[in-house]
C-alpha cells in the first residue's frame, strides 16, 4: 500500500515492509520518583511500522513509559533510541513525536484548521512550508480523519470523538517519526470508542506509522495492536502478539489480566489440582506441589448435569452482548465463578449443577 502523506512526502515508514528494523528501542529504563508511576528497568523494541499497545492497570507505569519515550518525562537510567539514533539531549520538539493526549489537549482558542496547522507554522522559516502549502496539507489531513468541512469550527463545537480525530490530525501533520497515543479513547463512550478503534487501525494501515498506544482496555489492545506489551508495577510482564499472549500467559499477572478470569485458590498435590477437596484435573507441567492460583476464564469450564464434575450451584445468570454466563459457587471456594453458559434454557438460580474443568491455568503462588 503506497499511501502518500498529504505533503506529498512518504509519511513515516509508509510503503516500507513491516518490520523494517527497530523503530523505537528502549533499554533498561529506570525512573524511581517523579510525577508518574515508577519504572523498574523496562526494555522494549518497537518494530518500524508496527502498532504496539502498552496494556496494564492504572499505576503500572504505561503512561510514564510513553511520556518518557516522548521526552515529556525525565528518567534516571537507561536509553531511548529512534531508528537507531539515541534521543539523549534532544528536546521534546526535536524528537519528532506525534503525541495524542487522552483529553485531546487541543488549542481551544484556535480553529480546527489552525490546530492542525500549528506544528507546521511553528517551524523555523528555513523548513517551514509556504502558507498555502500548510493550508493544503492541513485540509488533506482533515479529510484523512474524516473531518473535511469542519476546519473553521472551534474545538468546543465538536464532539469528543471529533476532537480526538483533530488531535490525531494535528499530531500527524508534523510527519512524526513515531506516533504515541495516551489512552486516546479513554474519555469517549463505548460506541465511539469502537468506531474510532477500527478507524485508527485503518489509518495505521494507510500510513504505516510506527505507533505506540497506551490503554487499560485489553479488548482495545488485543483488537488493535500488532503486538501487546503488558506492564505491571513498572515492569514489562510479557510482550507478544495478541493471540500468543491470550493462548499462553507467561506470568500469573498476565493470566489474571487477560481473558476476564476468576482467580481461585487451589492446591497442587502429586501433579493433580484440587479445588476445595475436589480433584479438577492434572496440573500443567512445571507447577510445583503446594498452594497455587488458578485463573479460570469463562470458556475454560462448562456446566454439566448435577452428579458430573465438581458439585456447584447456580447463583445467577448474566445476560450480556458477549453471550450468557452463569455465576456459580463451588463448595470450599468463597469466590463465585463465571462460566459461559451457551444453553441457559431451563436453568435458574439455585439449581444444583456440575462444573467440568476443560482447561487449567495454574500458577504457583508468589
Amino acid at each position: 500500500m503506497t499511501w502518500r502523506a498529504p505533503g506529498g512526502i512518504e509519511a513515516g515508514a509508509a510503503g516500507q515492509p513491516r518490520g523494517g528494523g527497530v523503530g523505537i528501542a528502549v533499554r533498561g529504563l529506570v525512573k524511581s520518583y517523579g510525577a508518574g508511576a515508577a519504572l523498574k528497568g523496562v526494555s522494549l523494541d518497537v518494530e518500524r511500522g508496527e502498532l504496539l499497545a502498552l496494556l496494564g492497570p492504572s499505576g503500572s507505569g504505561k503512561t510514564t513509559l510513553l511520556r518518557v519515550i516522548a521526552g515529556l518525562e525525565a528518567f534516571d537510567e537507561g536509553s531511548v533510541a529512534f531508528d537507531g539514533a539515541s534521543t539523549a539531549g534532544l528536546s521534546v520538539g526535536e524528537r519528532g513525536v506525534g503525541f495524542v493526549f487522552q483529553h485531546y489537549a487541543l488549542f481551544r482558542h484556535m480553529t480546527v484548521l489552525d490546530n492542525v496547522a500549528y506544528g507546521l507554522r511553528v517551524r523555523p522559516r528555513r523548513t517551514r512550508p509556504a502558507a498555502a502549502e500548510i493550508r493544503r496539507r492541513s485540509l488533506a489531513l482533515l479529510d484523512l480523519v474524516q473531518l473535511g468541512g469542519l476546519e473553521r469550527r472551534y474545538p468546543a463545537q465538536l464532539s469528543g470523538g471529533q476532537r480526538q480525530r483533530v488531535a490525531l490530525a494535528r499530531a500527524l501533520a508534523i510527519e512524526p517519526r513515531v506516533l504515541l497515543l495516551d489512552e486516546p479513547f479513554g474519555a469517549l463512550d463505548a460506541r465511539v470508542r469502537k468506531d474510532l478503534r477500527r478507524w485508527l487501525r485503518e489509518i495505521h494501515e494507510r500510513t504505516g506509522q510506527t505507533t505506540v498506544f497506551v490503554t487499560h482496555d485489553q479488548d482495545e489492545a488485543m483488537e488493535l495492536a500488532d503486538r501487546v506489551a503488558i506492564l505491571d508495577a513498572g515492569r514489562i510482564e510479557q510482550v507478544g502478539r495478541p493471540a500468543d499472549i491470550y493462548a499462553a500467559p507467561r506470568t500469573a499477572f498476565v493470566a489474571s489480566f487477560v481473558g476476564d478470569p476468576t482467580a481461585l485458590g487451589v492446591t497442587v498435590a502429586a501433579g493433580r489440582v484440587r479445588l476445595g477437596g475436589f480433584d479438577v484435573g492434572a496440573a500443567p507441567a512445571g507447577v510445583p506441589d503446594g498452594p497455587a492460583r488458578q485463573f479460570l476464564r469463562p470458556g475454560d469450564a462448562a456446566l454439566v448435569p448435577a452428579g458430573g464434575g465438581v458439585p456447584a450451584r447456580v447463583e445467577a445468570l448474566l445476560w450480556a452482548s458477549r453471550g450468557v454466563r452463569a455465576e456459580v459457587s463451588v463448595a470450599g471456594s468463597a469466590r463465585r465463578i463465571e462460566v459461559d453458559c451457551p444453553d441457559p434454557a431451563g436453568l435458574r438460580a439455585g439449581d444444583a449443577v456440575g462444573l467440568r474443568f476443560d482447561h487449567l491455568r495454574v500458577y504457583p503462588l508468589g
Partner: protein, 287 residues
Amino acid sequence: MSILTAQAAVPRRRRRAGALPGFGPAMGFTLFYLGLIVLFPLAVLAWRATGTGAAGAARIVTDPRILAAFRVSFGTAFAAACIDTVFGVLLAWVLTRYRFPGRRLLDALVDLPFALPTAVAGIALASLYGPNGWLGAPLLRLGVRVAYTPLGILVALIFVGLPFVVRSVQPLVVDLDREVEEASATLGASRARTLRAVVLPTLAPAVLTGFALTFARAVGEYGSVIFIAGNAPYVSEILPLVIVQRLEEYDYAGATGVAVAMLLVSFAVLLAINLVQAFGRRRHGHG
C-alpha cells in the same frame, strides 16, 4: 412586549423555570441592589451636575488646569495598569506554577496593598522615595526625581493596583491544562512560542479583567497619591484632588461637573474593555 402577550395568551405556560429555580428573586434582588447602591448615587451626582448648565460644563472641560489633571490622572492610571499587568501576570505565574520556600508568605503579601489604608501606603512611599528617602536619595543622585512628580503618582498607583491583576489571573493559571503546553512542545514549538501562542490567549480574558480593575482603581485612587504627588497644578495634580479642592471651596456644582466628566471617561474605557472580552469569548466558542 411579545413575552407579555404570550403570557396573556397562554396563562398556564408561563416562563419555563428550569430545573434550578431562582431567576426571579435573584434578578429582582440584583436590580434592587444595583439600583440602590450604584445607580441611585450616580443619578444624584448627575442631577447635581446639571446645576452647572451647558456653559458651566463647557467651562469645566476647557479649563486648562482641569484638562491637565485629566491627562495626569488617566495617563498615570493607564501606565500603572500596563505595568501592573505585565508584572502581575508574571507574579501570578510564579506563585502558582513553582513550589519554593516562602511561597505562601509571598502569596499573602500580594494582598497587602488591598488591606493597607491608602494614606499609610502614601506616607510610606513618600518617605521612601522622598529626596532623603532610602530609595529617593540614590535615585536623585542619578538624576531621577520620583516624589512630587507624576513618576511618584505612578509608583503609588502601581503599588495599590498590583493585587487586582494577580488575583484575577491566578485562578486561570491554576486551571491551565499542562497537556496543552506539552502538545505545543511535541509539535516543535519553542517555550516562548508556546507561551505566546497557547498560554497567553487562554489567560487573556483574566488579564483584561485585571487590567480594567487596576485601571479603574488607579483613576479613583486618592489617599496614597496625594502624599507623594506634590500636587503641583498642571504637573502632578490628579482629578480626585481637583474635586476635593472644589468641594473645599464650596463649589459643589464644579466638583460634580468634574466628577461626572471623569465618570463618563472611566465608564467608556471599562465598557470598551468589556466589549473586547465579549468579542473574544464569542470567537473562541465558549462562554
